[in-house]
């Protein structure tokens, strides 16, 4: 038999045959380790858990167009691809325009959005009635509703006037080769859209016409008739439809004549008008679109949202004739430093999107998390200290209980080192066993806390098992230091002096 085996045999015999005292020490360590591993589990899970809670305060990042280029859903989508699915709570696009209410000669801010996303990024929206579900349904801010006496089910007419400053037309300062877009009223007042690009001599180098709003097979041909479209290439603005009076008459020479598609003169005229407008929007005749809407719900938030009229992007797009966005609100469940990193990578993408963190949300989130984590840390330290005191006291009692045995061992020739390693061995064994128990119980504890407090379960962290065991052993070893000193100081002669 080796000395090591004998050492283990003595230690296990001591632990197994002198149970009651050891159970107390074991229990102390197990309880300490339970709290330790439980709190550490929660500590690392809190940001995730609390992040989800914080998301009820709304979006924490907004995307804005940078410079002159407008924001589009494609760009937002590019950004969203950078956010892990598990962290993205919601992404809501917004388009704000001025809407008129012809019956009352009043204007309001109209907002186009995606209501399924609104529910995710603005959970604090309180709607009396329902969110718009069908086309031509609107959500009216409480303030507006009260001012003009709207109720759920009311019907109102809203109109949108396309003007130079409404942001949907191209500007002359745009880069060469850049896509310019414009629109004009075609057949039956339906909006027809074109986009062109100009070469360095300001001649049209390409043209695309969206004529889907025009009469199929007749007016819609202006978008597909290649011979018609080819006439535009190489010409400078403004253009004129042959056989008609120039819109621009008196303001300059016509530089190009375009032959209309036969049977679609109005649509052809609309294409020419739209092309002209791409660069001469300031001269454009305002296009006004009107539609009737039904109020599906009244929105109250306590904020500025109460003075807006919300509708789907599709409905708003029909009024404005474009699909641009002004802002996208993102709700991302991630710590603030991760959000900062995300912001800089979005900026680095250089796709004309400027990210902004909603500081009042991200900051308060970070500060609450910081405080919570500090609290958990403090409690863990206190619990470890208490464990240490408890184990130390127990071991102290064990030493005085075993005074005679220690004296005997020394009389039999045990060196101080032997005595030290025997007690340390027992302590570490208790620490290891207690740590193992604590790691398992701690996970159960964290799970119970998580389910009761945050309403979601947490995953087991495999790394926590060895960490808990090692920390427990270290705590046990530290707790044994004072008792060991006592044990080493025992005089072997006590075994000789009678009872």
């Amino acid at each position: 038999m080796t000395r090591r085996k004998m050492f283990l045999r003595m230690i296990t015999a001591s632990l197994l045959r002198r149970r009651s005292r050891m159970l107390i020490a074991l229990l102390s360590i197990a309880v300490g380790a339970t709290i330790l591993s439980g709190l550490v589990t929660i500590y690392y899970d809190v940001p995730r858990q609390m992040g989800a809670q914080f998301r009820s305060y709304g979006a924490n990042m907004i995307l804005l167009p940078s410079g002159e280029t407008p924001l589009t859903w494609e760009k937002v989508q590019t950004v969203l691809d950078m956010v892990p699915d598990s962290e993205l709570v919601g992404a809501t696009p917004y388009r704000y325009v001025r809407l008129d209410m012809p019956s009352r000669q009043q204007s309001f801010t109209g907002a186009g959005t995606d209501f399924t996303q609104v529910l995710k990024t603005s959970p604090y929206f309180s709607v009396e009635g329902a969110y718009p579900e069908n086309t031509r349904e609107i959500l009216v801010g409480k303030e507006i509703a009260e001012t003009i006496g709207l109720k759920t089910g009311s019907s109102i007419e809203l109109s949108y006037k396309q003007t130079a400053d409404s942001g949907n037309t191209g500007s002359k300062g745009a880069e060469e080769g850049a896509l310019l877009s414009g629109s004009a009223e075609g057949f039956n007042k339906a909006i027809l859209k074109v986009s062109i690009s100009l070469d360095e001599d300001e001649k049209i180098s390409s043209i695309e016409v969206d004529s889907s709003s025009q009469t199929p097979g007749i007016g819609s041909n202006v978008g597909t008739d290649q011979a018609f479209l080819d006439q535009f290439i190489g010409k400078s603005l403004p253009l004129r439809l042959s056989g008609t009076a120039s819109e621009e008459q008196g303001k300059g020479e016509d530089t190009g004549l375009i032959d209309a598609v036969s049977g679609a003169t109005i649509s052809s005229q609309a294409v020419v008008d739209a092309v002209n407008r791409t660069v001469s929007a300031e001269n454009a005749v305002p296009v006004e679109n009107r539609e009737h809407f039904t109020v599906s719900g009244i929105l109250s938030t306590g904020g500025e949202e109460e003075s807006y009229i919300y509708m789907t992007l599709t409905d708003l797009g029909r009024l404005t004739g474009d699909e641009l966005l002004d802002v996208a609100e993102l709700s991302i469940s991630a710590p603030s430093d991760e959000l900062e990193t995300l912001c800089s990578s979005i900026t680095d993408l250089n796709i004309g999107v400027t990210p902004r963190l909603v500081k009042r949300v991200t900051r308060s989130e970070a500060s609450v998390l910081g405080k919570l984590q500090a609290l958990v840390f403090l409690v863990t330290v206190v619990v470890l200290l208490l464990t240490m005191i408890s184990v130390s006291t127990t071991m102290m009692a064990v030493v005085s209980e075993r005074r005679r045995e220690i004296g005997l061992r020394k009389a039999l020739g045990a060196s101080d080192r032997s005595i030290r390693s025997e007690f340390l061995g027992e302590g570490m064994f208790l620490g290891g066993l207690g740590g193992l128990m604590g790691a398992v119980l701690g996970f159960v504890f964290a799970q119970v806390v998580s389910i009761n407090v945050f309403g979601s379960s947490i995953a087991f962290q495999p790394l926590l098992l060895p960490v808990t065991i090692i920390v427990s052993m270290a705590v046990a070893a530290a707790s044994c230091q004072l008792p060991i000193r006592r044990a080493v100081a025992i005089d072997p002669a006590i075994v000789l002096k009678g009872e």
Binding site: T2, R3, M6, M10, A13, G413, A493
Partner: protein
């Protein structure tokens, strides 16, 4: 040659001279009893011989080494290597079995060897009780385990402190018989006792009184 020699040894606690200028010699292989009433200095002498205490004055030569000058750590080594101890209260490790208690002594000395430990128990007639805990053994059996433990490392000197003080006559005789065997094998025995019968079993008795050697008695009947 003397295994143990005390030269003018005194142990002074304040005003009290527990040992006062004591000189004794114990030859290798000798069996000596130390007697005396309570307070005569027996325990003090035992502590000094057992390397658990140092004299205030004088020299203690154990196997040629002056142990009164050695540091505490060295004394532990000397005790472990040269001395087998037997106590009045037996003193076993309560949570270890008989054989494990014997092995503890091996463990501190060199290498635990269960077979050898069992042989030692066989010698004291307790092989079949090897797996019993001290609480399951009688006082006599416990003391026999202690004898086995004391002799397991083949010490030069067996130092026994009232070895039969807590035993009945039957067990006392068993222990004394064991001592006789050890003596015949050449082991040096020093037995501290106040029991004249135990003292008479030895070759020579040193009587202490008030910290001094009062007289020495040679046992004429030894070996007869």
């Amino acid at each position: 040659m003397a295994l143990l020699e005390l030269k003018n040894v005194s142990k002074i606690y304040g005003d009290l001279k527990a040992l006062n200028d004591v000189s004794i010699r114990v030859e290798k292989g000798e069996w000596v009893a130390i007697m005396g009433p309570s307070g005569s200095g027996k325990s003090t002498m035992m502590n000094i011989i057992g390397c658990m205490d140092k004299p205030s004055l004088g020299e203690v030569l154990l196997d040629g080494v002056d142990i009164s000058k050695e540091p505490q750590k060295k004394l532990t080594d000397i005790r472990r290597d040269k001395i087998g101890l037997i106590f009045q209260q037996f003193h076993m490790v309560t949570y270890l079995t008989a054989v494990e208690n014997v092995m503890v002594s091996q463990y501190y000395h060199s290498m635990p060897d269960e077979e050898e430990a069992l042989e030692a128990l066989e010698r004291v007639g307790l092989r079949e009780r090897a797996k019993h805990l001290p609480s399951q053994l009688s006082g006599g059996e416990q003391q026999r385990v202690c004898v086995a433990r004391a002799l397991i490392n083949h010490p030069e000197l067996i130092l026994a402190d009232e070895p039969t003080g807590n035993l009945d006559e039957t067990n006392e005789n068993i222990v004394l018989d064991l001592f006789r065997q050890l003596h015949n094998e050449g082991t040096t025995l020093i037995v501290v006792t106040h029991d004249p019968e135990v003292a008479e079993a030895a070759q020579r008795t040193i009587v202490l009184e008030h910290g001094r050697v009062a007289r020495e008695i040679i046992n004429e009947n030894f070996g007869k």
